[in-house]
Amino acid sequence: MRVPLSWLREYVDLPATATGRDVQEKLIAVGLEVETVERLGEGLKGPLVVGQVLTIEELEGFKKPIRFCTVDVGQANGTGEPQEIVCGARNFSVGDKVVVVLPGAVLPGDFKIAARKTYGKTSHGMICSGDELGMGDDGTHGIIVLPPEYEVGTDAIALLELVDEVLDIAVTPDRGYCLSMRGVARETATAYGLPLRDPALLDVPPPNAGGYPVQVSDPMGCGRFTARTVAGLEPEARTPLWLQRRLQKAGMRPVSLAVDITNYVMLELGQPLHAYDRTTVSGPIGVRRATPGEQLTTLDGTKRVLDAADLVITDDRGPIGLAGVMGGANTEIAAAAADPETGRLRGTTDVVIEAAHFDALSIARTARRHKLSSEAAKRFERGVDPEAASAAAQRAVDLLVLLAGGTAEEGVTEIVTPSGPRTITVSADHPDKVAGVAYGRETVVRRLQQVGCDVYGQDELVVTVPSWRPDLSEPNDLAEEVIRLEGYENLPSTLPLPPAGRGLTERQRLHRRVGRALAGAGYVEALNYPFTGSHVLDQLGIEQDDPRRAAVTLVNPLSDEEPDLRTTLVPGLLGALRRNYGRGTHDLALFETGPVFRASGDEKPASRLVVDRRPTDDEIASLDASLPQQPRRAAVVLAGGREQAGWWGEGRPANWADAIEAGRTVAREAGVELIVRQDQHAPFHPGRCAALLALVDGEEVLVGNAGELHPRVTKAMSLPERTCAMEIDLDRLERAGTGPLRAPKISAFPVATQDVALVVDDSVPAAEVESALREGAGELLESLRLFDVFTGEQLGAGKKSLAYALRFRAADRTLTAEEASAARDAAVATAVERTGAVLRG
């Protein structure tokens, strides 16, 4: 809502010195979000005067038609001589009154005016357009042509009310009444402690039977309908400047007098009005729900197919308006136009004014259904004061009589569905309890009365809320009114004492640890958007029946390319990797932790549960069952160097082993020792892919995959060669966690070290050799480490040699050489038996 300060002063006697910023501050304190204060005409300096065009000479030979004019500006130029002005606009003729800015003046935007040579003439000033004066464009892009009654030489700064301040207020949904000058004025009056001149306090004639016939067949949708008629409007009547200017400052464009008046009254009182050309309405006006398939062309020229829930205004022929949202084109007020035969102006002479009150929800649904947001709908959705309808109709009638020379007809139609006043019972100290402040009953009552409530009672107050505040329905609503008017800034600051808490859960600590461990291992966290599309899975070479294809899809994605939510973290990370690479960072290690989303395919729609009680456990379970799985994952991607070359020696490229190690790093934080197996799984290189498994309740469970990406994938996604990745499921890892660690027993007896080298077939996984050695070595084995892998001609093709260091130690004695050797031999024997290993040299 844009509120011109000059207009606001009409209802509240603000201090003469109060600036827009002062008012802004006061209104913010009582809860109106005044976003900006626009200073109109800032820096504007005259002379800016009314002139009359005396002569027009068309200049030829330029790219566009140019006029050289003489303009009478009276004594404003000091000489009384005609002012010579070059002008590019064409929407005026000799004799027209125009706005002239003279040399020495400054227009908004620090536009200094001086005599200057142009198009071979000297222009002593300028004939102004609305834009140039900061009035907003009137849609014609031409200069302003004033009504003829203004005197030549009159100061146009005052005439056009060019200097003003406009408050722009973002009205919250509960404050519908502040979508009017009346509402904002009420808040301003309260904020300043000044009386309000309520513009809705008008003398309104009582309803009678002589008004325009109206039939409301849906009183739930339309609780009130006032119809008034004004006849004999003069087609040549124009919207006066002051009214035009108020509309412009409030952000609306002047159209024609009758329409401007309905808009003006809406801005003033908050009641949307509609004016029908009576000659085009056939028979009684009706209000009903549309029949499905009915059609209506609205004022914006769009033909709309109506829904059975749409509330419509009708006449004998069918719908003539979408109630409370937009009128129909077939009963539109006709703009005045010259009759081709007589040359006389013709236009709408008789109008029916509608001031109705429609159900907020119904209007909101219709506006949304037809994607049609109008000033009227915006107000009805937020609640309009039903008691203001007849005053608004009266105000429109008065203005039509005053400005358009019309005659108010005596008939007054008013259809009202009776509804009692709304009352709330609240204990007088309720606001005190909510705020934590002792306001006392007297203050509470006074503040509620300022809001417009009637208050009765002592300890228990019976509060009748004003008709313009449909948002006030609960005791806390009244508490808010008291507290905001007493000032949120005066609330004390106290700290409650929560019961002792338990700190973070194990799961929360795990998530933090995983992040720290990966960062500690050199990975940089990236937070990627979860939006993706199936083309990404195609690039990754993921099969059509892969569970990663079971994506959650959005109805309204930002991009049609990415309608799905991620089912894996890897693509997002690869995108970030590619972006970094493109920006010149080539050694990259990135990680992300977060949920992925997996649709099971049989989620039922989530029900709209009631809100007047807690849902049952079954109802909550059914809501949860309607949601996709959202397991939490961790993933890394790597490319380029894992270690850099430098004065210390060579660098080392990142490889599949780093990716798998990242998996182990994550798993260790969960207290899980991973089992690593050879695997073949998109998007990985078929020979360089590991399955990561963990024991959950004694069963091996797949928790992730790691390795080098398939060369086809790196090519398809324009990634660096040998890019590696790992992804692991944190929820599964959490289940595999073994609880508190038992401390190891440390033996102080000396260690016995034995090395063995075993030759096995290439196809034998090192992990199998290792587990065989461990098992064979028995209890004395303290640790075992693979320190070399060797292949070469001596071994023969298809063979590899694995060299292990075994460390033996007993808890209770120094091992003899024989004992250590025996343990080693046992280890080797098991490996030989299990893996076909041969002990080397």
């Binding site: 508490a479 019961p499 808490g501 937070l527 970030a576 029900s607 009680r613 807690r614 850099q644 430098g646």
Partner: protein, 374 residues
Amino acid sequence: MSAPNKSYDPVEVEALKPEEIAARLDEALAAIAAADDLEALREVKVAHTGDRSPLALANREIGALPPHAKADAGKRVGQARGRVNQALKARQEELEAERDARVLVEEAVDVTLPYDRTPAGARHPLTTFMERVADVFVAMGYEVAEGPEVEAEWFNFDALNFVPDHPARQMQDTFFVQGNGTEGDESGVVLRTHTSPVQARTLVDREPPVYVVCPGRVYRTDELDATHSPVFHQIELLAVDEGLTMADLKGTLDHMVRALFGPDMKTRLRPNYFPFTEPSAEMDMVCYVCRGESVGNPDRPCRTCSSEGWIELGGCGMVNPKVLIACGVDPEKYSGFAFGFGIDRMLMFRHNVEDMRDMFEGDVRFTRPFGMEI
């Protein structure tokens, strides 16, 4: 020296004469002083303290003396040998120190050499900042609650008093999830538009008193630009207990901004509207960058607060009793307060992040300097 014993027939032993001993001593001391490295000193040591050194030989002669002369001569030789050993030791230390100094100089390195062998990793500042905010409340006894990002509309809207078709529901530009069945079927599922559904989940799950914070990721249909992102982060706070007031809310906010931004920070509440709180307020804090000094000071404009002096942090208020009812909490017995605010914006002004996009593009140059904690 004892007085000469006239009754004794002295045996003249040349080597034990005082002047002889003194001469040997001087020779030894001179040789020690002349030794200019440890090797030379070792030779000197052998020559002057070894078995065949003059003083050692002299010492052997003592046995040939008559008893009354032995003590005298022994004392003389002993003192001389003592001084030689002392001098040797001193010189030894001197030479070792010289050698050490020389070798350690030779071993010196340029410690200013860089060592960026394994580049450091880092956590994202949004992650660590959310943890930091959460920790402020955990220290006060609050617990951290969590909820799903893909959420039922009932939790995201209905339970929080967002009436269907009410304009408030349209204020939040929502991503809707497609239903399973035929096209157009409403799933009743959305990407959560705020962290507030966790309030409802918590109240449905737990008996009051409830004191929780819920940090997390949320979604609105905004295109990414310098100040907006379709994916952003919030932290939500909910306290439900007997007798909680707006003053408690104000105190909790004050504590939070002081813990995060410094002891001289202040908050301001302005009336506002949210369906799930009543009364509701917008919460501002003094501009972290200009501390309010840009207000009315055109020479020192502040981009962070647009020279308003205050920064909007988020919404708050007393939990609407309708929310308590929908979650099964008795509003006659309990009251509560809640607030929620955008972590991303807070991070932006706390760390002078000028473009929202920097936080979501995953550029390591942005994230790495933030390290493990902020």
